[in-house]
C-alpha cells in the first residue's frame, strides 16, 4: 500500500498535508441529478479533486472514494436503483468495495447500493406516500469509521431529505445484525437527539437514515449531506461526513488495490 504510506508521510507535515488531494469519483447514471452537487462540494467546499465516472465505463480512474449520487437513475423505472445495478461501472464499484474501497451512496445512490447487494435491506415508499423534501435531524450513532470519524457520537446533524422511497425496511434478523455490528450510521431524531416517531419522516424501521456494510467501508444514507455543507444553504452539518472520509483516507489509505482498476493497465 504505497499510496497509503505516502498519505501518512504527508500527514506529518501540516503544510504538506494541505497539498494532498483526495480523488472522488462521482458515478453518473442516466438520470443522476445530484452528481454536479457532489462535484461542487468536493471541489469548491472541501478543496479536493472530483470527477465523473460514466456508467458505461469500468475504470474508476484511480478514485480514492466513490460517490453514488442521488437522482432518478434510469427514471427509477421498475424500482428505484433496480436498473442501475447492472451498469458496467457498478461491477467496478463492487470490486472496489470488496477490496475495502470507500463508497458512499446518497439518496438514489443508497437505493442503488441496496439493489446491488452492497448493503442490506430494502426501500419502501414513504409512509405518507408522497415525495418529501425538508430538513431533518440525524443522530450520529458511531463516531468511528470512514464516514463519521470526525463527528461525535450522539451528535445531531441537520440535513435535508428529498425522496419518495426512503422508508427503510429489513427483516428482523438483518435488523438485529445491523444493530449488533454497529452498522446503523444515522437515525432520524428530533432536535434533541431523541429518535421519536414524529421525527421519522418516512416510516423507516427504527428511524434508520443510513447504514454501512459489515466492514464499514460502504455507506448508504437517504439525507443529502452535499446540500448541507455551506452556511449560505442553511447548514454546514453535512460537511463532517466529507471531512471524515478525507481524514480516514489520509490516515488509513483507500483500501484500493491496483488489481481493482480494471481497464487501466
Amino acid at each position: 500500500m504505497e499510496f497509503a504510506a505516502k498519505r501518512r508521510k504527508n500527514h506529518k507535515n501540516k503544510s504538506d498535508r494541505k497539498r494532498v488531494r483526495m480523488k472522488f469519483g462521482v458515478v453518473q447514471f442516466p438520470g443522476s441529478n445530484c452528481d454536479q452537487d457532489c462535484i461542487h462540494v468536493i471541489r469548491r467546499v472541501m478543496g479536493h479533486e472530483a470527477f465523473y465516472l460514466w456508467h458505461k465505463d469500468e475504470d474508476l480512474q484511480g478514485a480514492d472514494c466513490v460517490m453514488v449520487p442521488g437522482g432518478f437513475s434510469y427514471g427509477d423505472y421498475l424500482r428505484c436503483g433496480a436498473i442501475a445495478r447492472f451498469a458496467p461501472m457498478m461491477t467496478a464499484v463492487k470490486k472496489f468495495a470488496a477490496a475495502g474501497g470507500i463508497v458512499i451512496g446518497i439518496c438514489n445512490g443508497f437505493q442503488i447500493l441496496l439493489e446491488a447487494g452492497l448493503l442490506q435491506g430494502a426501500m419502501q415508499r414513504n409512509r405518507r406516500l408522497k415525495f418529501q423534501c425538508e430538513s431533518v435531524h440525524l443522530r450520529v450513532e458511531h463516531a468511528s469509521g470512514p464516514f463519521t470519524c470526525k463527528a461525535q457520537e450522539g451528535q445531531v446533524l441537520r440535513i435535508p431529505i428529498a425522496h419518495g422511497e426512503g422508508n427503510y425496511f429489513a427483516d428482523t434478523s438483518t435488523l438485529s445484525e445491523l444493530n449488533r455490528n454497529g452498522q446503523v450510521a444515522f437515525r432520524y431524531c428530533d432536535g434533541m437527539g431523541k429518535t421519536t416517531d414524529e421525527a421519522n419522516p418516512n416510516g423507516s424501521l427504527e428511524n434508520i437514515a443510513g447504514i454501512t456494510n459489515r466492514s464499514g467501508n460502504v455507506l448508504g444514507m437517504m439525507p443529502h449531506p452535499e446540500r448541507a455543507s455551506e452556511s449560505i444553504l442553511g447548514s454546514e452539518d453535512g460537511k463532517v461526513i466529507f471531512e471524515s472520509i478525507i481524514s480516514w483516507i489520509m490516515n488509513h489509505g483507500t483500501g484500493r488495490k491496483e488489481s481493482v482498476v480494471l481497464s487501466k493497465g
Partner: protein, 764 residues
C-alpha cells in the same frame, strides 16, 4: 401534385369549423396555397393559427409591452425564450407558460407536461435549466365554500393533488428545484384551474442558440421520444372553452417522461458545446413537428423538407395528419451542419437516444412534407408561421360595480378570530403541503427556500474551478405574483399593482428587479368585457414595467379560460427576476432576534375594498381598491433597498393578501425560531380596516435597536413614512390600538392554523 391520403375526409364547411378556422381564415389559407388545402394541410393551418401558437387575438395588445433594454440579449417573441444579461459574460433565459386546459382534464399529466414543455423552451436556447416555479389557481378546497358545491370542492381537491403530484413527478425526476411560486383558491377557477410554470436557465452569451434553419442541404434531425397519437392538436384544444364534453378531449393531453427529457437535456447541452456542428434547434412543443419545422424555416428565411417515414413512431398506421399534429412530449428538432452528421449522432448515442435524420433545409421557402414517396403537404413556411390573421376584438367596459359600503359590515371587537380565519384560508395559509412535495433544494443552490417574499438562488457560474470558494457566483431573487381579485375590480390598477408587488418582493429579498415574464390568463376574447380586461391589464402592466425599468422578456397567453359558470377572474400572472449583488444583502421575511424593533414603511393605508378580509366575510369582490402611486411605491422600495444594503435590516416583508396583520403574523411564524411580537398601532376609524386593508407600497422591517437612527435617516431621505410598531419578543403576537388590545394570540396557535390548513382540506 399534393397527395391526399385515402383515409382523408373531404374538406367540408363542418370540418373547417371543427378545426377552429373561420371562413375568412380558410380563404386566407387558400390564397396562401393558391389552391384548397388537403386534410393534412387543414390540420397544419388549424394548429398554427390557433391562439396558442399565433396569438392572433392578443398580438396587438402584446406589442404594448416594453421588450427592450440594455440587458435584453434576445427579446420576447424572437425565440423560444428571452435572454437577459446578468453581467460578466453570463446570461439567463426564463419564461412562464401555462398548461391550464390539459390540467383541467388530466391534472397529473397536464401539469407534468407543462413543466416538461417550459424546460425544453429554456434548454433550446442553449441554457442549462436551473430552477422552476409554479403559479397555480384552483377552485375552493374548503368545505362549505361560497358558490361551490361539495362535489366541486372534492373535484378541486383532486385537481390540486393531481397537479402538485404531476409537477413534483416531472421536476423532481429531471432534477430541477421548484423554488417557489404561488397558489390561490377562488370560485372563479371552479372547473378551470390555472397551471402556470416558470423555468430559468443559465448560459454564457456565446452559448445562445437560435431556432433557425439555414444552409441549403443541412440535415434536419429528430431526437427524443417516438411520436404517438397523444396530444393530437393540443394547441387547438387549448384555444377553446372548456365544456362538459372536454373530458372527451383527453387524447389531446400528452403523457410526460421526465427521464427521457433529462437525457435530451444533457445530450443537447453536450451537443451545443460542438458549436460548428449545430445550425439551429427547436423543441417540439405545441403543434409538434408542424410548428418546429415551419418556424425554423421561417426564421431562417429558408425552406424545409421532411419525410414522415423516417420519423420514429410508437404507433402503427399513423397518417400524415396525425404525425404532423401529434404533441408527443420530449422531442427536439436539430438542424445540423452538413458533414457533421456523425458528430451529432455520436453524442445522442452516448445518451442512448436515437437521432433520426428526417429531412434537410431547402431554399424554396416551402415546408414540404413527404410520406410514402409522395408530397402530402407543401406550404410557404413564412406565411404559415407569421401571417396568421390578427384580430382587434371589441372591448367594452362592464357596467360599474357597486362599491363597498363600510356601514354594511360590522366591526368585530376582538380581531384574533378574524386573523386566525384569514391565516387558515388556503390562499393565505402556508403552502408547505405543496412545496414539501417538490424537491426545492436539488442543485445545491437554494439559499432562501419557499415561504419568504421571493426565492433566492445561487448560481455557480464556473463549474470548472477546482479551488475552494473559487469561481464566479451570482444570486437571483425570483417571485411570481398576481392578485386576481384586484385585477377583477380594476384591471388596469390591479395589473400595475401586480408588477409593483413583484418588484417589492424582489427588493425585500435584497435584490434589484431586472425583468419579467407574464402569463396572461383570461376568458374568451370574443366577449367584449373579457377583451376589455385583457387590454386594461396589458396597458397597466406595460406602464408599470416601463416605470420600473423592467422589460418583459417573454411569456404566454392563455385565453378561453371559462367553465360553464363563466370566465375566470383576469389573472395576468407575473414572474419577476432580480439580481442580488452581494450574498450579504439576502434578506428573509421572518423576525430574527428578541428585542429587534419592528417598523412599517409606507403607512398604514386604508380601505377594505378588494381585500381578502372583505371577501372572506361577505363573499364580495368589490372596490374601490386602495390608491396606488408609482412614485410613492418607488420611494418605499428604494428606502428598503438602501436599508438592506446598509446592513440595517434583519427582516423585510411586504404587506399583501390579508394586510398588515397577516404580514405581522407571517413575520413571527414563518422562520425557525417563531418569536412573538408586541405591536402598537395608531388609532383608526375601523380597527379591522387598519389590520386587514390591502393597500400597496408597504413593507414591515425589523432592525436591531442600535440601527434605528440609521433607518430613520434613510426613510427621511426617501421621504417615506416610517412608523415604529413595537418589538420582537415573547411567545405571543399582541396588537394594540391605543390602550385596547385587539389581537392577542400565541404564535404557536397562529402557526397551527396557518401551517396545517391546506393539509387539513386535502387529506381529510
Amino acid at each position: 401534385m399534393i397527395a391526399a391520403m385515402p383515409t382523408d375526409p373531404a374538406i367540408t364547411p363542418e370540418l373547417i369549423r371543427k378545426h377552429g378556422l373561420t371562413d375568412d381564415e380558410y380563404q386566407l389559407a387558400c390564397s396562401i396555397l393558391k389552391r384548397d388545402p388537403n386534410f393534412t394541410e387543414l390540420g397544419i393551418f388549424s394548429v398554427m393559427w390557433s391562439e396558442h401558437c399565433s396569438y392572433k387575438n392578443s398580438r396587438p395588445e402584446l406589442k404594448k409591452f416594453p421588450t427592450t433594454g440594455p440587458k435584453v440579449l434576445v427579446k420576447a417573441g424572437d425565440e423560444n425564450a428571452g435572454v437577459l444579461d446578468i453581467g460578466d459574460g453570463w446570461a439567463i433565459a426564463f419564461k412562464i407558460e401555462s398548461h391550464n386546459h390539459p390540467s383541467a382534464v388530466e391534472p397529473f399529466q397536464g401539469a407534468a407536461t407543462g413543466v416538461g414543455g417550459i424546460i425544453r423552451d429554456i434548454f433550446t436556447m442553449g441554457a442549462r435549466p436551473v430552477l422552476c416555479m409554479d403559479a397555480l389557481r384552483f377552485g375552493p378546497i374548503t368545505p362549505g365554500a361560497r358558490d361551490t358545491s361539495e362535489a366541486q370542492v372534492a373535484r378541486n381537491r383532486r385537481l390540486l393533488s393531481g397537479v402538485v403530484a404531476g409537477i413534483a413527478h416531472y421536476g423532481n425526476c429531471i432534477g430541477l428545484p421548484t423554488v417557489g411560486g404561488e397558489i390561490y383558491f377562488d370560485s372563479s377557477y371552479n372547473g378551470n384551474p390555472l397551471v402556470n410554470v416558470v423555468c430559468l436557465g443559465v448560459l454564457r452569451h456565446d452559448q445562445i442558440r437560435k431556432g433557425s434553419a439555414t444552409g441549403k442541404g443541412n440535415p434536419v434531425y429528430y431526437v427524443g421520444a417516438a411520436t404517438g397519437r397523444d396530444g393530437l392538436a393540443g394547441a387547438a384544444f387549448a384555444s377553446r372553452e372548456l365544456t362538459e364534453e372536454s373530458k372527451e378531449d383527453r387524447p389531446a393531453v400528452q403523457v410526460g417522461d421526465p427521464f427521457m427529457e433529462k437525457l435530451l437535456l444533457e445530450a443537447c447541452l453536450e451537443l451545443f458545446e460542438h458549436n460548428e456542428a449545430v445550425v439551429g434547434v427547436q423543441d417540439m412543443g405545441a403543434a409538434g413537428l408542424t410548428c418546429s419545422t415551419c418556424e425554423t424555416a421561417s426564421r431562417g428565411n429558408s425552406g424545409i423538407e421532411i419525410e414522415l417515414d423516417r420519423v420514429p413512431q410508437r404507433e402503427t398506421g399513423m397518417v400524415p395528419y396525425e404525425t404532423m399534429l401529434s404533441e408527443s412530449q420530449e422531442r427536439m428538432l436539430i438542424i445540423a451542419r452538413k458533414g457533421h452528421e456523425r458528430e451529432v449522432e455520436k453524442i445522442f448515442e452516448k445518451w442512448d437516444l436515437h437521432a433520426a435524420k428526417i429531412g434537410h433545409v431547402t431554399d424554396d421557402g416551402l415546408m414540404r412534407v413527404k410520406h410514402g414517396g409522395k408530397t402530402v403537404a407543401e406550404i410557404p413556411a413564412k406565411q404559415l408561421a407569421e401571417d396568421a390573421p390578427v384580430y382587434v376584438r371589441e372591448a367594452k367596459a362592464p357596467a360599474a360595480a357597486p362599491a363597498f359600503d363600510p356601514s354594511s359590515l360590522e366591526e368585530p371587537r376582538d380581531l384574533s378570530p378574524a386573523l386566525l380565519e384569514l391565516l387558515g384560508h388556503p390562499s393565505i395559509a402556508s403552502k408547505n403541503w405543496v412545496y414539501r412535495q417538490y424537491d426545492h433544494q436539488v442543485r445545491a443552490g437554494t439559499c432562501v427556500l419557499p415561504g419568504s417574499d421571493a426565492a433566492v438562488v445561487r448560481l455557480l457560474l464556473d463549474g470548472s474551478s477546482k479551488k475552494n470558494g473559487g469561481g464566479l457566483v451570482k444570486y437571483l431573487a425570483l417571485t411570481t405574483d398576481c392578485n386576481a381579485i384586484h385585477c377583477r375590480i380594476n384591471p388596469r390598477e390591479g395589473a400595475k399593482m401586480v408588477v409593483a408587488e413583484s418588484c417589492r418582493n424582489i427588493v425585500c429579498s435584497g435584490g434589484r428587479p431586472l425583468a419579467g415574464s407574464d402569463n396572461l390568463n383570461f376568458g374568451n376574447p370574443h366577449k367584449p368585457e373579457v377583451f376589455w380586461q385583457i387590454r386594461e391589464c396589458v396597458e397597466g402592466m406595460a406602464e408599470a414595467c416601463r416605470f420600473f425599468g423592467t422589460p418583459i422578456t417573454g411569456g404566454n397567453v392563455s385565453l378561453y379560460n371559462e367553465s360553464p359558470e363563466g370566465a375566470i377572474d383576469p389573472t395576468p400572472t407575473f414572474c419577476m427576476v432580480g439580481l442580488i449583488e452581494d450574498a450579504r444583502f439576502i434578506t428573509t421575511q421572518w423576525f430574527k432576534n428578541e428585542g429587534d424593533r419592528i417598523f412599517l414603511l409606507g403607512g398604514t393605508g386604508a380601505g377594505l375594498g378588494g381585500s381578502h378580509y372583505l371577501l372572506h366575510r361577505t363573499g364580495k369582490k368589490v372596490g374601490p381598491l386602495p390608491p396606488f402611486d408609482f412614485e410613492f411605491e418607488k420611494r418605499v422600495q428604494d428606502a428598503v433597498a438602501d436599508a438592506i444594503r446598509a446592513g440595517i435590516v434583519q427582516s423585510a416583508h411586504d404587506c399583501s393578501e390579508g394586510g398588515l396583520a397577516v404580514a405581522l403574523a407571517e413575520s413571527c411564524m414563518s422562520g425557525e425560531t417563531k418569536p412573538g411580537a408586541q405591536v402598537k398601532l395608531p388609532s383608526a376609524n375601523r380597527t379591522d380596516d387598519l389590520l386587514f386593508n390591502e393597500a400597496p407600497s408597504r413593507v414591515i422591517v425589523s432592525a436591531a435597536p442600535d440601527k434605528v437612527d440609521a433607518l430613520k435617516k434613510i426613510c427621511a431621505k426617501e421621504n417615506v413614512p416610517l412608523a415604529e410598531l413595537g418589538s420582537v419578543g415573547g411567545k405571543d403576537l399582541q396588537i394594540q390600538v391605543g390602550d385596547r388590545t385587539i389581537v392577542d394570540a400565541p404564535v404557536t396557535r397562529l402557526h397551527e392554523a396557518w401551517y396545517n390548513a391546506i393539509a387539513l382540506c386535502v387529506e381529510s
